[in-house]
């Protein structure tokens, strides 16, 4: 008999109240029973509400307040969940100087810390640093993320960090069957974790490997949890949803640089508003040799690689 690998999604937590389980129950004709078993009020509202984009301001405020209460109790600290909208006349872009990056992975771990990724089992990292051969240039057939020498940079190699490229034509949002992921007016591609059904079509559609799936309940120690969160960004994620880089939406939408920009020990990372001619990213684009990753796919990333030297 032919054998198949069993997908390792873990047993559902009976205490969890998720929209998915509700719908499943409803399909089985047990909707009323499920509702009766739930805590009334907030939970019913949660299960029957409209999507984040469609919510009226008051409902959105109430939703964020509910989440703040839930996370604060869960993690034992005052957690804020922002719903900050895009700033007017702002379109974000990112620049990464390949002639400077030394592959030290400081950005990877600053991102994990800032954005509340699962630390292990599953280990989720939004940034992946590829080591490549200088001899071959930017060539994925000569690239590895698993390099681990005593010291970097290594002779004959260069390093190309990859993360969500915030495409202008994102293949990932087109394939989502439930509109749980979309591109915001400021250029950030976001995910509503409450709406994601975990089908992973987006993960398959992304040509950059930027989207990560929570195969198990994320492991986020309360002591390491960053309490400053955004609904569409670094708030805690449940099992079974997809996540990815959001240009640190909780930071960038209040004017701050993303965490990876601030940690980089060699200043290889640039960030700013494409619509501001004085911004650092525009200075880069005006003066340096700039390219986008996999240009031939016409995804038109808002993430630019460049060589300053």
């Amino acid at each position: 008999m032919r054998t198949h690998p069993r997908l390792p999604v873990l047993e559902a937590d009976p205490a969890a109240e998720s929209r998915r389980r509700f719908l499943k129950a409803a399909a089985g004709g047990a909707a009323l029973a499920a509702l009766a078993a739930c805590k009334p009020g907030a939970v019913v509202e949660e299960l029957t509400r409209r999507s984040f984009q469609e919510l009226k301001p008051d409902d959105r405020k109430a939703l964020l307040a509910r989440l703040e209460k839930k996370y604060s109790e869960q993690y034992g600290k005052a957690v804020t969940v922002s719903g900050a909208p895009p700033m007017p006349k702002v379109n974000f872009a990112y620049g990464l100087d390949l002639s400077r990056c030394i592959g030290c992975r400081r950005c990877v771990y600053a991102c994990v810390k800032e954005n509340n990724q699962s630390r292990e089992h599953p280990q989720i990292q939004w940034i992946r640093v590829l080591q490549m051969d200088k001899e071959h240039g930017v060539d994925l057939t000569h690239a590895t993320p698993y390099y681990d020498p005593e010291l970097v940079p290594e002779l004959g190699h260069f390093y190309m960090p990859t993360q969500c490229q915030q495409c202008r034509h994102p293949p990932c949002t087109k394939v989502c069957p439930v509109k749980a992921t979309w591109k915001e007016p400021d250029g950030i591609v976001v995910i509503d974790y409450d709406w994601c059904i975990g089908c992973r079509c987006c993960t398959a559609a992304c040509p950059y490997g930027a989207r990560k799936f929570n195969w198990a309940e994320p492991k986020l120690p309360a002591s390491e949890m960053n309490p400053v969160t955004h609904y569409l960004g670094n708030r805690p994620r449940p099992k079974g949803v997809v996540e990815k880089c959001t240009f640190c939406i909780q930071r960038s939408r209040v004017g701050r640089y993303p965490a990876c920009v601030e940690i980089c020990p060699v200043g290889a990372r640039k960030f700013g508003n494409l619509l501001d001619p004085q911004s650092e990213i525009r200075q880069v684009m005006d003066r340096k040799r700039v390219f986008v990753f996999k240009e031939e796919l016409a995804t038109e990333p808002q993430f630019y690689y460049f060589y300053a030297t």
Binding site: H4, C104, V261, V266, A308
Partner: protein, 198 residues
């Protein structure tokens, strides 16, 4: 970032530097003709404080109260700096950058004195391309607000002026490959959609 900061008040293209040390008050503001020697533009920008000197070493005039022997030679004091001096040709000598008569200052090739807080002007004399990029935010690092108040790092915040080439770093751990994340069901025996036995 643990750097304490000081504010640069920019007005009409002139710099009024708040002195960090007693001896630095004489730092000359650049003349209008030297507009290209300004730090990064932007009235809200904050300059990162230069890295601290070894304890007790500044002001240099504590010991160097008058001009010393300008001839290049093997030093008895500061010998560790001389041994670790890897910047430009071997003929590089302390007084190429440090001022002999006023030891609490650096000097440009023109002879103009420059306080340690404005050392980027000295670096820019040779590294003009990097200096130009740095002023625009293309080279170097800035932290804070992309649309407002930010701290820009000086050349010497990242590069040791005596040995400016970056030292190699220990990389943080590589990612765990998918097959080692502990999700591979063992043994892979049952069909994926087989109903569980009751």
């Amino acid at each position: 970032m643990g750097f304490s900061r000081r504010l640069l008040l920019c007005s009409a293209g002139l710099l009024a530097a708040v002195p960090l040390w007693g001896g630095a008050a004489e730092g000359k503001a650049p003349a209008p003709s030297e507009a290209s020697l300004e730090p990064p533009a932007g009235a809200l920008d904050i300059q990162a404080e230069p890295p601290p000197f070894s304890e007790g070493i500044f002001p240099c005039s504590q010991c160097h109260d008058r001009a010393g022997d300008p001839k290049p030679r093997q030093l008895a004091f500061h010998d560790e700096i001389q041994a670790g001096l890897h910047h430009g040709p071997p003929s590089r000598w302390c007084l190429d950058c440090h001022d002999n008569a006023k030891r609490d200052f650096l000097h440009l090739i023109s002879g103009e004195l420059v306080p340690f807080t404005d050392s980027y002007r000295l670096c820019g004399q040779c590294h003009g391309d990097k200096y130009r990029d740095w002023r625009l935010g293309v080279h170097g690092k800035r932290v804070g607000m992309w649309n407002g108040l930010k701290t820009y790092y000086l050349c010497v915040n990242c590069h040791s002026p005596h040995s400016p080439k970056f030292k190699a770093l220990k990389p943080l751990p590589p990612p765990v490959p998918p097959q080692d994340q502990g999700f591979t069901a063992t043994p892979l025996a049952a069909p994926a959609h087989e109903e569980k036995a009751p």
